[in-house]
């Protein structure tokens, strides 16, 4: 279990990848990334991260679909998924929760260090 990465960051915007992965690494969170939904499914299965931060607006396969696939698969079903998006529509939040997302975090409403705190408290 100790070899498993702490966070799988599923995000297509390079600017944000840079921001969050740098912060996580600085805080000693072992982070892996996926820029597309399909990649995320593969990585989640093989690497078994402790938590998945999942963006919603992505090319090819959006976050909701990725979440659905993750919860369908035995190997990834139990990994906690946090939706990490700037979409704030109630219906989207409700849908994500219904599909099994543990948390729904709005990017603009959380500082990176607060996010790290939240992840760490969960990992304990």
């Amino acid at each position: 279990m100790k070899d498993n990465p702490d966070v799988l960051l599923v995000e297509d915007d390079p600017d944000q990848i840079l921001l969050y992965s740098t912060k996580f690494e600085l805080e000693d969170l072992r982070t892996i990334g996926a820029r597309r939904g399909k990649d995320a499914l593969v990585v989640a299965k093989s690497q078994q991260p402790k938590i998945i931060l999942l963006d919603l607006v992505m090319p090819d396969m959006d976050g909701i679909e990725v979440l659905r696939q993750l919860k369908k698969n035995k190997k990834t079903r139990d990994i906690p998924v946090w939706i990490f998006s700037n979409l704030t529509k109630d219906s989207t939040i409700a849908q994500a929760k219904k599909l099994g997302a543990k948390e729904y975090i709005v990017k603009a409403q959380i500082d990176p260090n607060k996010l790290v705190e939240k992840i760490k408290s969960m990992l304990k």
Binding site: D15, T22, L26, V57, D60, K107, N113
Partner: protein, 747 residues
Amino acid sequence: MNLLLSAIIYLAAFLALIIGILAILKNRSFLNISFTIFAWLTAYWIVTNILITLQPYTFWVRNCYAAGALLAPSALVWILVLINDRKNKYKILLIYLSGAIFFILGYTDFIIKNAEKTFIGGFEGTFGKGFNIFSFYSIFLIFWILGKLYLTYKKSSGILKLQLKYVMYGMYGFGITTGTLNFLLPLFGIETFIPLDSPSSVFFIAASGYAMIRYRLFDIRIFLRKIFVVGGALVFTVIISLFIIYGNLAYGKIVPESIMGPVALIAGIVLFQYLRKWFLKLANRYFFTSLYDPQEITERVGRDLAQTLELNQIITTIVKTMKQALGTERYTFVLCKEKDQQTHGYCTVKKTAGMKHQDITELLKNDSLYQFLTEYKDILVREEIEDLTQKTAKKYVAPLLICKKELTQLKIAVLVPIISHKKIIALIFFGDKLSHDAFTLEDLRLLRNIANQASIAMVNAQLYEETKKFNALLQIEVTKATQNLTKTNTHLKKLLKIRSEFLDIASHQLRTPVSVINGTLSMLRDGDLDRLPKEKHKEFIENAYTKGKKLDFIINDILAASEMDAENFGFVLQDVIDPVEFLEKVVKEFLLEAEKKQLKLIFEQPSKSIPKILTNIKYLEQAVGNLISNALRYTAKGKIQVSVKTESSKNQTVIISVEDTGIGIPKADLPKLFDKFMRAKNAIDMYTDGSGLGLFIVKQIMENHPGGKVSVESVENKGSIFSIQLPAAKTKVNGANAITKHPSSQS
């Protein structure tokens, strides 16, 4: 011989008596009373002709002549009343008085001195001194009667004429015979035929009876018919019953006598019912052809008309009833539109039988007839038209006479107008009665009655029809309005959904740069960045800066879109620019972004010179910039090519195109691509940091240029070509400051 003679005389007397009774029973008008007086006096006189065989002869003969003295005056009075010549009451009184004087004188030796021998209807004896005076008096009255009858008959028309004709025949027969036998021949000493004078009054009785039966002189036909039917049936029943009883007796009592009575009675009752019907049929067919009960018919029509609101059914009911009552088969029902006074054009034949459509239409072309009826408001009887012309306005005389001619030709007897609110709403033409009888006053009264009821029913029907039509129209309008509402509602719902989706995306696109900028700043504040190598540090700052710029773009787009949404949006076309120069500059600004995405962005130099264009450079930059930025956003690999050309034929239109090798646009999304908040289906799924307003803004800007437009060609998964088209600027730029208005506002 004597027996037969007295039987004839008694029968004639009895008939005269009965007719007199019937006349007075029916009606106590002076016409009927004067007739009754005449009829009874006749009956009495006839009887006195037999009574002269009694002793003392002289008295009974005088009695007979006294009675005879009353006959001519009473007949004259009745005739005068009948032809409506009773202006002078004293004349009538005087006539009766003169009769009374001779009646009294009849019992003296003034007319008859003595009678030695008598026989039925005559005597042998000596006339008095005054016999000649009496004779002349009687002959004078008789000629007065006959002359009056003849002259009036000549002048009269219609029913009166027909009635007078028969009364006249009777009078002639009776008067001439009586005068000849009683007065003329005795003057020459011939007295053999005197006995036949009194029975000759049968002429008059029969003629009056006939006139009454056929022409309803005294309105006693219903009563007469009843007597005929019941009496006839009763007589036949009794005869047949007696025949059965007699037959039974003659053939040795086949049926025991004790039960023969009841059998005959039952047979009689059964027979009576049957015979009564048969006699009724007989009576209706031959004697009382158009006999009906007006009250019953009026009630029935009222009942039938109350049960329907269908115009056609109402017409059928009216026509059927009138037809039955009048005993005529031929008719035409014409419906007249209320609108107009003059009009044949507005009349339509609704129902007809036995008449030609065309004839009626032709007849109705006589506008004067129509106008006359509108004023006259009553039933027009063909036989009375001549009388009418004497009373009516001069302008109607000629048209009415023409009309009569036409009606005679077409064998139309009456024209019944149905009137509502002083306007004719329908006309009914009826042909002559099958019996060829004239139309009686009672017929007309009934027709008038039915016409009044018909008028109400028809107006009701028309109102109902109009209400029905109005309701149907209303229903259509309501349905239409509902459909419009539903459509609008659906449209609004869709708009709301689009708006909500747009807000969702727009807020996402606004928050994304904010979250990166905030994140970077918070790391800077917390000293995180100091822990990073200098290279990385710089990259962070650069990122935040770029995101800030993007935020500005998005905000600008949203502002521009709401500005362009305003109704009075417009901008000044103030710049005349060289498109090539302009495009080179714009393309340069996007080179860095293209490079970042590893895309080729090329501006293709035109092969020939391009004319200048009149525009607002700030807005045109925005438009072209949006197209290039879209191309970059939706192209994963390949190139974006910007080009400019003029329309080949004339050098008047400049076309700027941006061609990419991107995801393209599905065909279904093309028509609405330039709408606000609209994104192609395949674009929604993509990560974009655009506002979703780019193409809407391009369209608004291009439409603000006179002759400007934007168009797109695209194949999904292959790429798109967006082209904007602008007219070349005129060499001398006068309109450089023209303000153009947004041509249409979108809601």
